[in-house]
Amino acid sequence: MSEQEIAERIAKFPGADVEVLRKGQIAVKVPAEKGHDAAAYLKKMGFAHLVAVEYVDWIKENEFELVYNLFSYKMKMRAFLKVRIPRDKPEYITFMDLWPIAMTHEREAHEMMGIVFRKNPNLTPFILEDWKNLPPMRKDFDSRKYVKDKYDSIPFAEGGEQ
């Protein structure tokens, strides 16, 4: 099946904005409240595997983007299911019921971006230790300032004082 045919089939889902990115990659944008239904629809269609959950901070639009990277071994096709959630209320629902492995990916997104996934029981600290600062992958997190506060100085070669 070609990308176009698959894109047309996905477009039947109400509210889906489908775009063929390149060979073998399709982007599907849906409103946040329909995200879970769209994921279930895609899973039924054949995109049965969740490769990763990507998270992007679009600070100018004041939104977080969650990208569910799905793959179909039958169609040899990737689908990026994108939902956008407001930055000031970063909350979303877990996809653990569809893909159990989403637990780890969501745990990471929770720690790195501060997104709370409702009904995910395991949003415990993952990689960072004793982190009380702003989640580090947000665009307004200033790594240079953090280094200066934490280690008192930044090296001269990085633009600090001698």
């Binding site: 990115l21 390149r22 073998g24 990659q25 982007a27 049965a48 595997h49 969740l50 490769v51 990763a52 990507e54 998270y55 992007v56 901070d57 990208v67 990277n69 793959f71 071994y73 040899k76 990737r78 990026f80 893909w99 159990p100 492995i101 637990m103 780890t104 990916h105 990471e108 993952f126 990689i127 960072l128 230790e129 580090p136 992958m137 997190f141 790594s143």
Partner: protein
């Protein structure tokens, strides 16, 4: 019996890299486990946002130490897809050559690690020693031994030196000869058989449910491979069949690597044969490294690393550096959740052995 909490790692010699597992044991049977990654978190994803597109590979190759070329190539491919550029034909073959050699050296590391974890130290010495012959080849081709910084967006940096293909073939002949000795010492060894058979069996349905990829999935009978499913570099032109096994225990996982080791040797031979018949020269498209802007958009590229699917999701806002770059490390599926579930019911002595048999690479969980 009383249950005891035990921190296994990060300083434990039997553990792969900087990783810790908190195990609850009853006698010497594990009843609960919690993987604690994060000892090697270097913030690569954030650092990439501060670097130019071309400054990526010197940093990104450090994601997984024994398998550096796959990290570089995955990133380069994602950037190429985003910029819409195509690598020259010879560049694709040289790229595939470095990838297969990287797989060979990573598998040798794997044999060494698993051998060491069950007490067969001779094999550990042998494998690390034989890996050095591959590193010599890398030194000759790329100018560095471990972090090659060779596969850039646009293609590999240099063409092969004069007579390099013959020397590669010579090392391949040597490794093939050594593989027979490995069989005697290691793969037919009673210690290895007793320690690995029917240990930590992974079912195919479980692998599918938990998105396990790579040799671990193929050892359960699930025929998946990014090289076949989403072909890249020169793989569409190469002739190889996927190897699968049905058992899915530790033994099958190790033997899977041993069989794929032979397959990789064959692949390298196919590539060198093709490289000899190709005109030399044109291997790389060189964009302006300092002011290279990439159009808005996003791209994902995955490579079949020695541990499974290693993917890069790259977002550009039209600037000279990535807006966002995220790594999908292969170990994030089989290193955290799968490992925690599979270790339950095993013996304490298998905590490290299982980690090696699954080939968990903590750096690609942490990044």
């Amino acid at each position: 019996m009383k249950e005891v909490d035990l921190f296994f790692g990060p300083q434990h010699p039997g553990i792969t890299g900087n990783f810790s597992v908190r195990v609850k044991i009853d006698g010497d049977t594990v009843v609960k486990a919690q993987a604690i990654p994060g000892f090697l978190h270097r913030g690569f994803e954030k650092l990439m946002e501060m670097r130019h597109w071309m400054q990526g590979p010197p940093l990104i190759c450090r994601i997984c130490v024994p398998d550096a070329d796959h990290s570089e190539t995955g990133y380069s491919m994602a950037v190429e897809r985003l910029a819409g550029i195509e690598v020259p034909e010879r560049g694709k073959y040289i790229r595939a050559l470095t990838l297969e050699m990287s797989r060979l050296s990573a598998y040798l590391f794997y044999f060494a690690g698993y051998g060491g974890s069950i007490g067969l130290y001779t094999i550990a010495q042998w494998a690390i020693g034989d890996r050095d012959y591959l590193l010599d080849l890398y030194e000759e081709l790329t100018g560095a031994r471990v972090y090659h910084i060779f596969n850039f967006p646009g293609g590999p940096r240099w063409d092969t030196p004069e007579g390099f293909e013959d020397r590669v073939d010579k090392v391949m002949d040597y490794l093939e000869k050594r593989l027979k000795e490995y069989d005697k010492l290691y793969f037919n060894n009673m210690v290895f058989l007793k320690r690995s058979q029917d240990v930590a069996v992974m079912k195919k349905s479980y692998a599918e449910k938990m998105e396990v990829t790579g040799p671990n999935a193929r050892a359960t009978g699930w025929a998946i491979d990014v090289r076949k499913d989403d072909p890249y570099a020169a793989y569409p032109d190469l002739d190889f069949e996927l190897i699968t096994q049905d058992e899915g225990d530790s033994y099958a996982r190790v033997m899977q690597r041993r069989l794929e080791f032979q397959q990789s040797i064959d692949l390298v031979r196919q590539i060198t044969k093709k490289l000899r018949s190709m005109p030399r020269g044109n291997v790389r498209l060189i964009p302006n490294a300092l002011h290279w802007k990439i159009p808005r958009g996003e791209a994902y590229a995955a490579v079949e690393s020695s541990k499974g699917e290693l993917g890069y999701y790259v977002v550009s806002d039209g600037g000279i550096s990535p807006y966002r770059m995220q790594v999908r490390g292969p170990s994030i599926s089989h290193g955290v959740q799968v490992y925690e579930e599979m270790i339950v019911g095993q013996r304490l002595a298998d905590v490290a052995a299982l980690m090696f048999s699954l080939d968990v690479c903590p750096p690609d969980i942490d990044r």
